[in-house]
């Protein structure tokens, strides 16, 4: 449904996107994850034909965004970072306007508006001025605008920003309900959002893709070296003692906690050296207080991918 290859975008001399390639198939929910300024919004603006790419090929629903922008635009629903709403318009008028812009006739637009209002839970504010609505409702109106013409492809730039927790859950459920029929790309820097909604995730940093896969696969790949946290009373010689144990890849001094010392031990692939480590620590008389394995949370994955490593 969406094919991107070799996409590059320059802002003046600054490279915002650097040779990105990915694809999304029909019915999939693809999450764009990355820190601020990573190039998520820029990629989305190119996908929606708002902005031309510096180089590379982007095809949406079989149409090239540069050659056939009108055909692409017909098939895409887009929610930009700031919802593109007219403050002085009434919600239902605005949605009808958006539907008409996408080529729906008057009667069709009315029908589509009713459906979108229902889906986004805007029923009781449909006759109010958008300018008087709260930020969360404006965001919902923006989402309603993106889905009003029932597009094949939905591109949502941080769809849950400014919503309260209950609304966030509702909107996530709404987005999940699009999977199957619509292809959805959503960007976010909120990790649980990806966990909750996306079937696949694309982690992007400084204009480059650092990982594309299902979330489980990415975490699994990063977890291949298991990490242990060890708390000991005595510290002298423990660092070297730990390093000399067979299967230990690296040891890192994590500082003192209540008079005790914490060490972070990474174990090489394929080894389960917990018993040896414990045994050795006891032999050393290090005063072992605690030992536990550190699992990698989504936050760790994200931080690791976007700060330390180039790619997985």
């Amino acid at each position: 449904m969406i094919e991107v290859s070799g996409l590059t975008k320059f802002y003046g001399a600054r490279k915002a996107i650097d040779d990105i390639s990915f694809s999304a198939s029909k019915g999939e929910i693809l999450g764009f994850l990355g820190p601020n300024g990573a190039g998520k919004s820029t990629t989305m603006k190119i996908l929606t034909c708002f902005m031309p790419a510096s180089s590379g090929v982007v095809r949406v629903a079989g149409y090239d965004v540069f050659e056939d922008p009108l055909e692409v635009k017909k098939r895409v629903g887009y929610l930009p970072e700031t919802p593109p709403v007219y403050r002085e318009m009434v919600v239902s008028d605005y949605l009808e306007f958006a539907a008409k812009l996408h080529g729906l006739s008057g009667a069709q637009a009315k029908k589509a508006t009713t459906v979108a209002v229902e889906k986004c839970g805007l029923g009781h504010v449909r006759h109010r001025l958008i300018g008087n609505l709260s930020k969360g409702y404006k965001q919902r109106v923006g989402i309603a605008q993106a889905i009003v013409h029932n597009p094949e492809v939905l591109i949502l730039d941080e769809p849950t920003v400014g919503l309260d927790p209950k609304q966030i859950i509702e909107i996530r459920d709404l987005i999940k309900s699009f999977s199957g029929e619509h292809t959805v790309i959503l960007s976010t820097h909120i990790l649980p959002e990806v966990q909750a909604t996306c079937s696949r995730v694309l982690i992007i940093n400084e204009g480059k893709i650092v990982a594309v896969d299902t979330l489980d696969a990415i975490t699994a790949r990063l977890r291949k070296g298991r990490a242990l946290s060890v708390l000991v009373k005595k510290e002298s010689g423990v660092l070297d003692g730990l390093k000399s144990i067979n299967g230990v890849a690296s040891v890192f001094d994590a500082g003192t906690y209540d008079g005790a010392r914490r060490f972070s031990v990474t174990v090489e692939d394929g080894f389960d050296s917990r018993d040896t480590i414990a045994e050795n620590l006891v032999k050393m008389g290090a005063g072992l207080l605690e030992m536990k394995s550190e699992s990698m949370s989504l936050e760790d994955v994200f931080v690791k991918l976007t700060t330390v490593e180039g790619s997985v």
């Binding site: 017909k74 709403v85 008409k100 001025l129």
Partner: protein
């Protein structure tokens, strides 16, 4: 084509959902009413003097009322149109709603024409507020309807140019004040451009060209009730130029963004 109307009607409605439309209409009718009233009182006083002192036939109401009234209206519109057009594209840019327009399957030309038509039709509504004056004249005297009709046609042509300039200036910036001031400056400049052609003295080719560019000069014939295609061509080319430049400017907006 349908998209042009979608955008035009949305923008026209927007004038009326905000106070803009009502304030403009109120101020315009007050000023125009005041002008009509004062022109009328002067005319009545003058025609009394003509009769009293036997200077001959008093000037007709076409020359003494309709022409100055429309002349004044053009000046009032010169001041008011920047306020009407300044928000058209500047506000879309500021509120990011331009992203909705530019990612919808709508051609750029349709956006530009829609914006132009919305402001033009609003100004036409403003101008229609002067219709009661004409009805009053028709009841009291016998105006030349050709002159009245041509005065309206000429005014609409002329405000077409104003609005095209306004749309163009509005496409430049996201600041409405900047758009408004630029619009006013450009229109005013083409009003007074003829001054240099007078001052240069000799009727050089340059002087002729500058004289041709004067917006008001092309209105003269209309105000006498004459329909001259030469003037219509001038106004339509000026409108086309303004809208074409807007189109080009918007086109480059996405490249620069």
């Amino acid at each position: 084509m349908r998209q042009i109307l979608t955008i035009a009607s949305k923008d026209l409605k927007t004038y009326f959902t905000s106070p803009i439309a009502y304030i403009l209409m109120a101020v315009f009718s007050f000023i125009m009413g005041f002008m009509f009233f004062s022109i009328l009182t002067i005319y009545i006083a003058q025609s009394g003097q003509y009769q009293q002192f036997g200077y001959g036939k008093a000037p007709g109401i076409n020359d003494a009322i309709i022409r100055p009234l429309f002349g004044n209206m053009n000046v009032v519109l010169l001041f008011m149109i920047p306020f009407i057009t300044m928000r058209l594209l500047a506000e879309e840019k500021r509120n990011n709603t331009i992203e909705l327009l530019l990612t919808s399957p709508v051609k750029l030309s349709e956006i530009v024409l829609g914006k132009f038509l919305s402001a033009l039709s609003f100004v036409c509504i403003l101008i229609s507020l002067t219709a009661p004056f004409m009805i009053a004249l028709a009841i009291a005297t016998n105006p030349d309807w050709a002159v009245v009709a041509m005065a309206y046609v000429g005014t609409i042509c002329m405000i077409g140019v104003y609005v095209a300039v306004g749309v163009f200036c509005s496409s430049f910036t996201e600041n409405q004040i900047v758009a408004g001031v630029l619009t006013f400056g450009i229109i005013l400049f083409f009003w007074i451009i003829k001054w240099i052609s007078f001052n240069s003295g000799a009727s050089s080719v340059m002087g002729d060209i500058i004289g041709y560019l004067s917006i008001v000069d092309h209105y003269e014939d209309f105000s006498r009730g004459i329909f001259n295609t030469k003037n219509v061509v001038f106004y339509f080319s000026a409108i086309w130029l303004g809208l074409y430049l807007t189109y080009k400017n918007l086109e480059s907006y996405t490249w620069r963004a």
